[in-house]
Amino acid sequence: MRILIAEDDITSRAMLQAVLTKWGYHVITAKNGEEAFRMFQDSDAPQLAVLDWEMPEMDGADLCRCLRQQERREPLYLILLTSRDDAGDIVQGLEAGADDYIAKPFDTAELKARVDVGRRMISLQNEMQKREKLSGILELAGAVCHELNQPLQSVFGYSEILLMDLDADDGNYETLKKIQHEIGRIGELTRKIMKITRYQTKPYLKSQIVDIDRSSE
């Protein structure tokens, strides 16, 4: 899993990067809150972050506050790293939008445990978000199939009846065949939508759309 470290102190940053990389995280680093905030605007920004509280430009608590004010597609899990340890500070940090905090100087075992909790939370939230999206898609799929297949049945069926009465050499025969073929294509699409069991997307222009083929495999 990718993780972002925001820490102005070069030694501390290098140390965090080393241990987190050792534990299997893919680490990207920022030297201050503002740089971190910019990195979070990328479409593939990490969902998990360790943020130092005391940083120039924008501090960790402000960074949490700014990130929480944004509408984000994916959930974030933010851990504040702080030498402040009285209850008031901790409350202030959590209220700014942090999910957890680690007191400096930190114990590496504790750091690992808390970051791992973050990873579990993110996986869980991602899974839940996927399920919610799938259930929304299934509701829409049901409505689309129901509303669309009724008129499709009529058009498809009546064209079939018209074809029964036409000779193959009639000028309208081929035209009607084409119409029927195209309606058949829409019918195939609604059948595919009916088989959706997964939530898969594909890029479309600048956003993502549901990949009907892969979602109905």
């Binding site: 009529s154 069926g157 079939e160 009846i161 009916m194 069991t197």
Partner: protein, 128 residues
């Protein structure tokens, strides 16, 4: 003549008209109903062996109607023609006693073939 009669239930008159035309062209006599309740009323007076039911009906559903029909006439052959069915609904269909199901838009020739097969089956059962 009883053998050649089909009861079609669908809440859309256009679809009823369409299916009626298709089955009549194939030589069947068709009776239609827009609701399950209306279908049950018809069944009080006349009997049928072959049915085509829409699943999504106002009031009683096509699945419940199928259960009632199969309860009354265990030999009846009932087909589902549905605009949408999840996997769960399909298994429920089999459980309710549907012979087979078709998703809309269904080919009329497929529906007629299903009717032909149903009557062939019934004829075979009667001969034994």
């Amino acid at each position: 003549m009883k053998e050649k009669r089909i009861l079609v239930v669908d809440d859309e008159p256009t679809i009823l008209n369409l299916f009626t035309q298709a089955f009549e062209r194939a030589g069947y006599l068709v009776t239609t109903a827009e609701t399950a309740e209306a279908a049950l009323k018809i069944l009080e007076k006349e009997s049928f062996w072959v049915f085509f039911l829409d699943l999504n009906l106002p009031g009683m559903s096509g699945v419940d109607l199928c259960r009632q029909i199969r309860h009354q006439y265990p030999m009846a052959i009932v087909y589902a023609v549905t605009g949408y069915a999840s996997l769960f609904e399909l298994s429920e269909c089999r459980d309710a006693g549907f012979e087979d199901y078709f998703t809309k838009p269904a080919k009329l020739s497929d529906l007629v073939e299903a009717a032909d097969n149903a009557f062939k089956k019934l004829a075979r059962w009667k001969k034994r």
